[in-house]
Symmetry: C2
Subunit: 120 residues, 2 copies
């Protein structure tokens, strides 16, 4: 194994599509809500810049994790939802989630209001 081989290894590819400051939260919302409008999502994530949120959504769309649905009309209405390919990430995300709960509880426990969360 050398680095050039590794670049195209599945692990790297998968982590690649997840890398981006806001992508995990976006996925999180879409896993729970299945359909959300751009502005609603934007307001739900209070600190993200519109531009950056758009960039991340575009990348995720390109990676086919999410689907962008534009109704034509005014004011514009754009819905995002998770794709099958995106949904298929569920088990892997759940595995990461449970690793953190079991092995990095200190960090996770900073979340005061614990809540069972399932990504499936």
């Amino acid at each position: 194994m050398n680095y050039n081989e590794f670049k195209y290894c599945g692990l790297n590819v998968a982590l690649g599509v997840l890398s981006g400051k806001w992508k995990p939260v976006i996925l999180f919302y879409l896993f729970h809500q299945e359909e959300i409008r751009f502005t609603e999502l934007w307001r739900a994530i209070p600190k993200v810049a519109k531009k950056v949120l758009l960039e991340q959504l575009r990348q995720m769309e390109q990676d086919e994790l999410i689907i962008r649905d534009e109704k034509n009309g005014f004011p514009p209405e754009v819905w995002y939802r998770i794709s099958e390919k995106g949904k298929a990430l569920g088990p892997a995300l759940a595995a990461l989630e449970s690793w953190a709960n079991e092995h990095a509880a200190e960090k996770v426990d900073m979340l005061k209001s614990r809540r069972k969360v399932t990504l499936r």
Copy 2:
């Protein structure tokens, strides 16, 4: 769910410890080899700067994914190996890996010399 809650959610914590350009490949080596010397690792990953490799190793050590073992003597001899906590990431990484193989085969297939790979 708001963003502040999400920051400490397990998914974000887990992705946090994995984020870093060279961390996946480091894990990859350590999953296959269990013990590797710094310079050996450095030479195995041809393009990484020593400084950066060290930074990533330090972070992973802090996150307790890996264990640094220093023999005292000269020339220095430092071995890195995966910890139990790190090993416990195996199933999650395997899940990511297999997601990529099933759903992003185009990208993974750029790896000409395919080889079955297991992270367990």
